[in-house]
């Protein structure tokens, strides 16, 4: 039986009230708030966060493939799945692929994962869907779009939700798009998109799935439907004959916003979080056609209740004080940052240290047993030479030994909280703290590690990623 083995999600720490956007832009507010990726987050880091949660307690040796789906990959040319695989610390011979360019990228990847497991070409496939799209200043999309990621592990053993059936079709339709050089999403008129695009196509897809498997609307416990906007979503629910009070999984417009290709997978993850064995869940995603799936929740769901996913992240947040703060952390205004020239990232250096930088590997001395980060040639404790084994630090808990709240360190979002972290079970590292309220940082504060972006390297024209810590809550 093939299905969902585990799930994870990520919603950024920062939220912006839509009233603040409305105030700044002189437009009506949609109400609610949207999740905003921090200055050190992008689609890559959010995918890593969701994926790490998803594989918690899973034997990573059995993960044979990892898919990365996004309409906002940080590179136009350069694989992202390979970076995520390093950060999640998967086997070197894992099969990786990027899915892109469509709101359906996430469910395209999910279909491919299900096919791979069905055909026995892979035991476990980790699917990540992640997006942080930008709407034009003052546009409806600016208010609607949020940032987030979902991760879904597909396999055939210990399944928490069995795939009962699926339906997919392609329907070429210009609703939202970006040209080669566009940073903001273009859109045709809302009424046209809603009527001839979203509503027609989704209605068609969901109906066809029900026809194919002989299901009726009342057969589903919960439906996780992509929504182009709140009104379109409401109308679709009514047209499909689902009870909006009991059957519809909250589409997260109020607290997160439309998260692009991650949106439907995130709503689906939220539905799984609330589900119990025997429930039937519909997942329907939209974009140049649609992907529709029916899942039957099994007993295995009880084993993955500890995942931090939508419910957890909805409670982990800090409000951005105003629109300017949003502009700053999304790099929409030019901040005065003076990078240290000595901090230039050189590609061979990044490559040579990839196990440390991307996988957060350190070393354990075979002679004295002490854990050390970064890797050493000569043991910092006993002086043994080249006598180490690799140790992963990314899943270790730690605590703050000392810290500073630094306004001098170059950052688009000062002050930088930097601290010395001592890990449970040994090892220490000095790193920046993300997603924290600086005045609440304290010695002995528990922290955990999170994969983040460092400053873009202007001259080098590349992204660099590394680990930071964040408060452990």
């Amino acid at each position: 039986m093939v299905g969902i083995v585990s799930y994870g999600a990520h919603i950024p720490f920062y939220r912006l009230s839509r009233d603040e956007i409305a105030k700044a832009m002189g437009r009506p507010s949609m109400g609610g708030e949207k999740a905003v990726a921090s200055y050190d987050e992008d689609s890559m880091t959010m995918a890593v966060s969701a994926a790490r949660e998803c594989v918690k307690g899973i034997d990573k040796e059995k993960i044979d493939a990892l898919f990365f789906a996004s309409t906002t990959p940080p590179y136009r040319e350069k694989q992202c799945a390979s970076v995520v695989a390093m950060a999640v610390d998967l086997r070197a011979d894992v099969s990786v692929a990027d899915f892109a360019n469509s709101l359906r990228a996430g469910t395209n990847a999910l279909r491919a994962a299900i096919d791979a497991v069905n055909s026995k070409s892979a035991r476990l496939v980790l699917v990540t869907a992640t997006d942080c799209r930008l709407g034009g200043a003052g546009s409806e999309l600016e208010q609607i779009f949020g940032a987030g990621a979902a991760a879904i592990l597909v396999g055939s053993e210990d399944v928490a939700a069995e795939i009962e059936g699926s339906f997919t079709y392609s329907d070429e339709f210009m609703d939202q798009w970006r040209m080669e050089e566009d940073s903001i999403v273009r859109s045709w008129e809302t009424r046209f998109v809603r009527q001839e695009g979203y509503t027609r196509i989704m209605q068609e897809g969901v109906s066809q799935l029900m026809n194919k498997y002989g299901l009726k609307p009342e057969d589903f416990t919960k439906v996780a439907l992509y929504g182009s906007d709140p009104r379109g979503h409401r109308d679709l629910v009514r047209l499909l004959g689902f009870d909006p009070k009991t059957q519809v999984q909250d589409p997260l417009f109020d607290g997160v916003g439309n998260t692009g290709c991650a949106f439907a997978p995130m709503i689906f993850v939220a539905a799984l979080e609330a589900s119990k064995a025997g429930d039937r869940i519909l997942l329907a995603n939209y974009g140049d056609g649609c992907d529709v799936f029916s899942f039957k929740v099994s007993d295995g769901i009880s084993k993955i209740r500890d995942r931090r996913a939508i419910n957890y992240y909805l409670t982990q947040k800090a409000m951005l004080p105003n629109y300017a703060a949003y502009q700053r952390i999304r790099h929409l205004i030019t901040s005065e940052v003076t990078p240290h020239p000595k901090d230039d990232m050189f590609v061979p250096v990044l490559w040579r240290s990839r196990a440390e930088i991307l996988s957060l590997h350190g070393s354990k001395c075979r002679n004295c047993g002490e854990l050390q980060f970064p890797k050493q040639r000569i043991c910092a404790y006993c002086g043994s030479k080249d006598n180490f084994e690799d140790v992963g630090f990314s899943d270790k808990k730690g605590s703050v030994f000392t810290y500073t709240i630094d306004s001098m360190a170059p950052s688009v979002n000062p002050p930088t909280v930097r601290c010395v972290v001592d890990f449970e079970g040994g090892g220490r590292m000095v790193c920046v703290m993300a997603d924290c309220e600086p005045d609440k940082v304290a010695i002995d504060m528990p922290v955990e590690m999170i994969f983040r972006k460092l400053l873009d390297v202007e001259n080098a024209g590349l992204h660099s990623y590394f680990w930071k810590c964040k408060p452990s809550i």
């Binding site: 000392t402 930097r418 601290c419 010395v420 000095v430």
Partner: protein, 387 residues
């Protein structure tokens, strides 16, 4: 191992005005310091047999000194050892003399920082992978020690403020210092925070400057002047970069300080530094660094710096004056120059030439630098000179 004590004498020194020397280039600063030292020693540039140039990042190779001074084709070595660069140029020059290889040498350190803009220390590559040090600043790195010291010993920012107030007071009495202004504890506490808990007055400025020493064999010193000053001991210790790696490092002391000063005290025969030293110029890049250094050098017991500070022990009138010229706090920190500028203060104090800040009958003066960042590991450099 033969000790360096009393083998080498300082017979001339020079020091530029430290400050924003917008109208002077690095070579101007070198000429200014060197010719003051030549004149002080009563020698001609052609008398110099070998030279050591200390600069962190303002010049490359021995030519950086030979070119402005037109020293001819004598041996010149460029020395770099972090913030102790000037002190280590002096140390290597001493070895040149003590070895018997040369009779008369020049040690000169300088830095022309103000050409580089506010926030950037360009091109000084520490060898640490830039990813692992991401998000740091100098103030932030030293602030890590302040937060931990506060936590461990229960002191607060007021104690650091007293160090800043003391050094600003001394700076007013130093004509060559950059800053000449008394400050109050309230001003220090209310200044903007740069890297918690360090505020503006906890940090030294970025400054241009140069300082130089002319050294000769002790047995030849009298032919230059009667009031020469002898080199008593020198020590250097480089941290193996383990502070960020080893969990037993406590961030409230520097092992490199302890090791370097042990070398020096053994050479000089010092048992009770607080009583035996007449003055100490210590590395106050940040006030917390001066505080921790008191303890590392044994000027007060571990964890008890606050008591000594509150009692005024390190003021000009105190039992153990520290940074009698105003320190890095008032001179700024041109890394190549600082160590030699500190020795210049001892040289003047020991000869009774320190003007309004003259101490009573000093015998031994210690100079100390700590270079680098606590997380990466620093290099401590110490010299004691005396009569």
């Amino acid at each position: 191992m033969e000790a360096i004590k009393d083998k080498v004498a300082i017979v001339g020194m020079g020091c530029t005005y430290f400050g924003d020397r917008w109208d002077k280039g690095g070579e101007d600063l070198i000429v200014e310091a060197a010719y003051e030292a030549f004149e002080d020693a009563g020698i001609e540039p052609k008398d110099i047999q070998a030279a050591w140039l200390g600069t962190l990042l303002s010049a490359g190779s021995g030519c950086g000194l030979s070119r402005p001074l037109k020293l001819g084709y004598i041996p010149v070595t460029r020395v770099e050892n972090g913030c102790g660069t000037g002190m280590d140029a002096f140390r290597n020059a001493c070895f040149g003399v003590a070895s018997g290889m040369y009779d008369l040498v020049l040690a000169l350190g300088f830095e022309k920082l103000k050409d580089f803009g506010m926030n950037i220390l360009p091109e000084w590559f520490s060898g640490v992978n830039p990813v692992f040090r991401f998000g740091h600043s100098s103030a932030g790195d030293f602030a890590l020690t302040a937060v931990r010291y506060f936590h461990k010993y229960g002191i607060g920012r007021e104690t650091l403020a007293k160090i800043a107030v003391k050094n600003h007071h001394n700076g007013v009495l130093s004509p060559k210092a950059q800053l000449h202004r008394e400050i109050t504890i309230e001003e220090a506490l209310n200044a903007p925070i740069l890297a918690w808990p360090l505020g503006l007055y906890d940090c030294c400025p970025r400054t241009d400057g140069a300082a130089a020493a002319v050294l000769t064999r002790a047995d030849m010193a009298k032919s230059f002047r009667d009031d020469y000053v002898l080199v008593k001991g020198m020590g250097v210790a480089a941290n193996p970069g383990t502070n960020r790696v080893r969990r037993d490092y406590d961030f409230v002391h520097y092992d490199e300080n302890v090791s370097a000063v042990k070398q020096v005290y053994e050479q000089v025969g010092i048992k009770e530094p607080f009583r035996e030293l007449s003055l100490a110029e210590v590395h106050d890049c940040f006030t917390i660094t001066e505080l921790i250094t008191y303890e590392d050098l044994g000027l007060c017991p571990r964890g008890r710096a606050k008591e000594y500070i509150d009692a005024g022990a390190f003021t000009l009138e105190g039992e153990m004056p520290v940074n009698s010229d105003g320190g890095l706090k008032c001179f700024g920190h041109p890394q190549g120059a600082s160590g030699l500028r500190m020795i210049y203060e001892s040289y003047n104090q020991l000869r009774g030439k320190a003007g309004a800040r003259q101490l009573k009958n000093p015998k031994l003066g210690l100079s100390h630098n700590i270079g680098g960042l606590p997380c990466e590991g620093t290099t401590a450099t110490i010299a004691i000179v005396g009569r």
